[in-house]
């Protein structure tokens, strides 16, 4: 086996894994605060991609430049989903929380289908075809930028949660809901902000992914699933675990190209899911219940 090829795959895996990490951090944050799994997470990411796409097509603004706007739009989307749907179902048994969020995902997916049709779209952004050689290893520039920005955004989220007043309130609500209510935190508002922030993370990841893969309304499921697997891998509600899990899954998927056809890539993530559920259901890094 060619070691350069191996290295190449590993690096590609890490770069994509950074994006998985960002998506999963969003999912894990939402789970940590509300104990809810956002089954519309991938679809929200796709919405981020479409917003980014249309800003690019209509206004000619590069996806990297419109990133903040895209994140803000998806933040509002997440905030509204929380305020209208999720806050009503928070106290329901878990099985009953699944359907409303799956429904949100379906609504988003079909909205995209209705508005933009089923076609695959791949915008030619300024950097989408640029490559970079580091020794014998070839790296797509847009992949590298996506990785760097994903890590920066993730770090930004960590710092936000660690240092700011709202961030601390989010952590408090995630740690102990009743405790947060008792010290006087308006937990409903924190829920909305957390869902918005988690959605914004996945929306931003969508924008970063735009130059890397063709966009279509139906690609959300796979990402919901990927994010879910990453979160289980890293420990539910554990944000650092989510980032690490993203990197691990990215590399594993990428290396699977050595022995599996690309269309069977998901075999890897499902195998990881099954192994984790069997041997370490709490995740590689401890999570919450």
């Amino acid at each position: 086996m060619d070691p350069h090829y191996l290295l190449q795959l590993a690096i590609q895996g890490i770069l994509l894994g950074g994006l998985y990490g960002l998506i999963a951090v969003g999912l894990s944050l939402i789970f940590g605060v509300m104990g809810i799994i956002n089954f519309a997470h991938g679809q929200m990411m796709v919405m981020g991609m479409y917003v980014s796409y249309w800003i690019f097509v209509l206004l000619g603004i590069d996806p990297y430049l419109s990133l903040i706007v895209v994140a803000a739009v998806i933040f509002v989307l997440g905030y509204l989903v929380q305020a209208t749907v999720v806050n009503r179902i928070l106290d329901y048994p878990e099985a009953m929380q699944v359907l409303p969020l799956v429904a949100v995902g379906l609504v988003l997916e079909n909205t995209a289908l209705l508005l933009w049709g089923p076609d695959y779209r791949s915008p030619q952004t300024a950097l989408s075809l640029e490559t970079l050689w580091i020794g014998p290893v070839m790296i797509d520039v847009s992949r590298l930028i996506a990785f760097v920005l994903a890590i920066l955004i993730t770090t930004g989220i960590f710092v936000f949660l660690k240092k700011t007043r709202t961030g601390k309130r989010i952590r408090a609500a995630s740690d102990n809901r009743m405790g947060a209510i008792l010290v006087g935190i308006n937990v409903n508002r924190i829920n909305n902000a957390s869902f918005g922030l988690g959605a914004a993370a996945t929306g931003a990841a969508g924008a970063l992914l735009l130059p890397l893969m063709p966009l279509s309304p139906h690609m959300g499921h796979d990402f919901t699933l990927t994010a879910f697997i990453v979160v289980i891998l890293g420990g539910m509600g554990n944000l650092i675990g989510a980032l690490a899990g993203g990197l691990i899954l990215g590399v594993a998927e990428s290396l699977s190209a050595l022995f599996l056809p690309a269309t069977l890539k998901q075999v890897v993530s499902f195998s990881i899911l099954i192994i984790i559920m069997l041997f370490r259901p709490q995740g590689l890094f401890a999570g919450k219940k």
């Binding site: 408090a172 947060a180 308006n186």
Partner: protein
């Protein structure tokens, strides 16, 4: 300052409190005692707006608060140190304390409040950067009380602060409750440690099966044959 009148609180169809009335005056320590399941914690939850009463009124400084949000209730000066402490386990002791000061009035005097809390509980000084979840039970109780003080309450409600603590620490906690009270904070104290709590209280209420069975000054209650028989085993 606090006047609870005729409240009924239900969990589903089950009445946990029926026609309960208690009051706390400025500067007082008032104890509510009763056996397991009598409704003591439910009473505090009703006052802090977590479990709404079906009927009756709760007035704090002459304002009706039985439909007010918990966050507003904290803001106007009631703090609730709950059963089971309800700390933020992955946050540090310092962060836990800071989270107690949510509103501008409390945030403005955060450094002084913190100093006061560390004065009451010097043991927490060396634990400030430790995660609250890794503290001993006694230390967790100190953080819970400290966090409750950080909102600069006019009335502090304590739900079984001595539960599960070693006897030495129990006396210490009661002593600190008295010190907090001497600094001008009224205390509503819930306890199963009937003797100790009535001893430091100005007045007390005995809850039985969700009703106020008996009330009087701390001394009266300690002398009452009913209390001596049912709660003190004398």
């Amino acid at each position: 300052m606090l006047k609870v009148s005729g409240i009924d609180v239900y969990y589903g169809d089950m009445a946990a409190l029926s026609n309960v009335g208690i009051d706390v005056n400025r500067g007082e320590i008032v104890a509510v005692v009763g056996s397991n399941g009598a409704g003591k914690s439910t009473l505090l939850k009703a006052i802090s707006g977590i479990q709404r009463p079906r009927t009756g009124t709760i007035r704090f400084n002459d304002t009706e608060i039985s439909r007010t949000s918990t966050s507003r209730i904290v803001e106007v000066g009631i703090s609730h140190v709950p059963e089971g402490r309800q700390l933020f386990p992955t946050m540090t002791v310092l962060e836990n304390l800071e989270m107690g000061a949510q509103f501008p009035r409390a945030r403005k005097c955060l450094p002084e409040s913190l100093k006061k809390v560390l004065d009451y509980f010097p043991r927490l000084k060396e634990r400030l950067s430790q995660k609250a979840g890794t503290l001993s039970g006694g230390e967790q109780q100190m953080v819970a009380m400290g966090r409750g003080l950080m909102s600069v309450p006019a009335l502090m409600m304590l739900d079984e602060p001595s539960l599960g603590l070693a006897p030495v620490l129990v006396s210490k906690i009661f002593e600190i409750i008295q010190r907090i009270n001497q600094q001008g904070t009224a205390i509503l104290l819930i306890e199963q440690n009937v003797f100790h709590s009535l001893k430091i209280s100005d007045r007390g209420f005995v809850l039985e099966n969700g009703r106020v069975a008996l009330t009087g000054t701390g001394e009266e209650l300690l002398a009452s044959p009913h209390i001596r028989k049912m709660y003190l085993g004398l």
